[in-house]
Subunit: 413 residues, 2 copies
């Protein structure tokens, strides 16, 4: 670890090949935004592009845009761009619907492909919606499936011959821990199980190699590291070898082999289009494409290297400058074993995060006591790490977090 100073970090910025990407995003004045893992920043081009889609493609060209402006092809075109970011091939990814819905499709397919098995392995501490989706599906099916909730140390051991599908999130939303996609997928296949990888905190944050790891299915989010805008459509990956061999159950016309033939019976497309259900939200897809086009120009290896540095330096600086104030590191120190975020535990985490936000450092708080900081190498500078920690230090030194306005627990719902 080098000796960290603002000058040292500033020098890194001046030599950072990713630095020019920052100019392609809108970032609020003076804000240090460490929450791009919740909602990515806005690509500047999005304003003009969305206006074009609204005024020209919708307003002026109306329904002719379905063909003329490629609306019908958007889910697939954006899917192919996402494929490049996750190590998939063209024709294996669609940009569509929402993460939970895509997980539901894949879980249902996987259970159908392993009809003699009844167990789903998931991580109990995962962001709950994945687990909720699985609970809803098995209740609906009523065939005696059960979910075995393992934590990361126990996952490999939990993958036994009664397991139908292992459904995990690669990067843990709270701790930032990175699971070993290759080893877990190998183990699953060794016992005849299938895998589904949730890449919500991976896509755009670090290199992902779904095909090198022989992943069966995957899904992920468009609005975090892909900078696709609030509630951007999600994505869904089905390995070519499984396409045409299982049917996702939300069998709308867009997934039909001949959607415009209006045949009386559903006949599944034998390719990635079967993952679609119906009409997609075009305005939101157009915004997502703006984020993807930037990300596809960036070198993912460089993103990963900078991300690991940003996280390392943040941890080191917090421990050096705020070490006496009761923070304990949640995220692993092993840079290879984490995603692009750092979490600390602190009893006063809620108030501290409120004070940080008031001082223009935006991370987020995860109950009961975790402060979480996401690092997005395309628009986060090395000096931002320094400045964020100095503002945190000031808050801790001067007990600013004790102000009453930072201790009002406002319900988010």
């Amino acid at each position: 670890m080098p000796t960290l100073s603002r000058d040292f970090l500033s020098d890194l910025d001046s030599r950072d090949e990713l630095a020019p990407f920052r100019d392609e995003f809108h970032l609020p004045q003076d804000l240090i935004y460490l929450d791009g893992n919740s909602l990515g920043a806005m690509p500047l081009v999005a304003k003009q592009r969305i206006l074009e889609v609204v005024a020209q493609e919708w307003g002026e060209a109306l329904i002719t845009s379905w063909n003329k402006n490629g609306w019908f092809q958007m889910a697939e075109k954006l899917g192919d761009k996402i494929a490049r970011l996750i190590g998939a091939d063209p024709g294996e990814v669609m940009a569509c619907d929402a993460t939970g819905i895509n997980l539901y499709k894949l879980l249902s397919m996987a259970l159908d492909m392993r009809r003699d098995r009844r167990v789903i392995v998931m991580e109990g501490s995962n962001f709950p919606t994945d687990n909720y989706m699985a609970q809803g599906l098995i209740k609906q099916l009523g065939r005696g499936h059960r979910i075995y909730f393992a934590e990361k140390e126990d996952i490999l051991a939990a993958i036994t011959e009664d397991v139908a599908v292992v459904s995990l999130t690669e990067v843990h939303y709270k701790t930032g821990h990175l699971l070993d996609m290759k080893a877990i997928t190998e183990k699953a296949h060794a016992v005849g199980a299938l895998v589904i990888w949730d890449l919500c905190h991976s896509a755009g944050a670090l290199p992902v190699f779904v095909n090198d790891c022989h992943v069966d299915f995957a899904l992920g989010c468009g609005y975090k590291y892909l900078n696709g805008g609030p509630g951007a459509p999600a994505f869904i990956f089905v390995a070519k070898r499984h396409q045409g061999r299982a049917v996702q159950p939300l069998t709308g016309w867009w997934g039909h082999a001949a959607p415009f033939a209006f045949e009386p019976d559903y006949r599944p497309a034998d390719n990635i289009r079967q993952t679609l259900t119906g009409t997609q939200p075009i305005l939101s897809l157009a915004a997502l494409e703006c984020g993807l086009d930037i990300m596809c120009r960036a070198d993912m290896a460089k993103i990963r290297e900078k991300s690991m540095n940003l996280c390392d330096y943040f941890i080191a600086l917090v421990e050096e400058h705020c070490g006496g104030y009761g923070f304990s590191l949640v995220t692993t120190r092993s840079r290879e074993e984490r995603g692009s975020q750092v979490s600390f535990r602190h009893k006063q985490g809620f108030a501290i995060m409120q004070a940080l936000i008031a001082d223009k450092v935006m991370g987020d708080f995860r109950a009961p006591d975790i402060v979480r900081f996401g690092f997005t190498p395309l628009y986060t500078r090395y000096v931002d790490v320094w400045d964020a920690v100095m503002r945190l230090k000031n808050i801790m030194e001067n007990n600013l977090w004790q102000k009453p306005e930072f201790n009002r627990l406002t319900a988010v719902t």
Copy 2:
């Protein structure tokens, strides 16, 4: 029927209380747009509103917009606006996801509420995606459900005591025929079945009274008569009496009783929020709200009256001026029994529609031989009906549809 002339129709426009709404939409120069039942026209305010959501709410306010700009509440807020248009109460409608997915949720709930029954009644000639969704669900469930496809004359007779759910589209996408929501719902309830009404071609086109008709469930589309933009989120209605009594199976965190408590197990909200799965596409919702805000200011009775007149006059003028050219009316002449569209059958329908579009009258063609014209009273004038028919007459009189460029069958997929 009055004697129709352009002057007569122009005079109606000058006295039309809905006429000022036309100024709130962008309509391409000289185009007579009779396809608002496929994609509604763009409300002018949408440009500014979307730019504000992109640049301010996303770009500048970032994640704080979930609370500060009400993103979390949008699905429900827009749902309440849609409720007013379909005769539902506040808290009974959500704007979310897509029509097929919402139908899937409701079908699954309905089958779960009638576990001892195995039959779904649908209309075989309906827009196929509804039927496909039901086919996918029953295949996935594997419990021996079957779909009985009835056509409109046979629907009431098909509703017998083995029927779990009657799932119908109120206005037929091709013929424009309006089913009797009240009578069918009554019959279904009399035999202990539930009803799901697809309001894709009803909402915003005519008054709908889901609660007066004691409808159980409904869904519909945001991008047709509601003018919500391409692929706008759909809506879902669950009558208050059923809320908390059945669980839709796409059980994501937004449908949890306490979404931010991050409880390990799914616990369904006991209200309309349970219909949600996860994060919604905010940009697309914002555009939808622009359309809804206009529609909510319009008098639905006046919309209906004008819609019936536009359709009546269109039929009369086509028959008067193009009567010798082989058109046969598909839509009923009975204004009370149709939605807001008129279809004719013609052997050369495809080429005729291409010629019309080239002459700036945009309707659409439905294979094998139907030309379909939608009438959207908020921005369609009485004189548009005259002008459209005169252009059609010109095409038929001069055999303009025979030009080779109008006879190239280009695949839409």
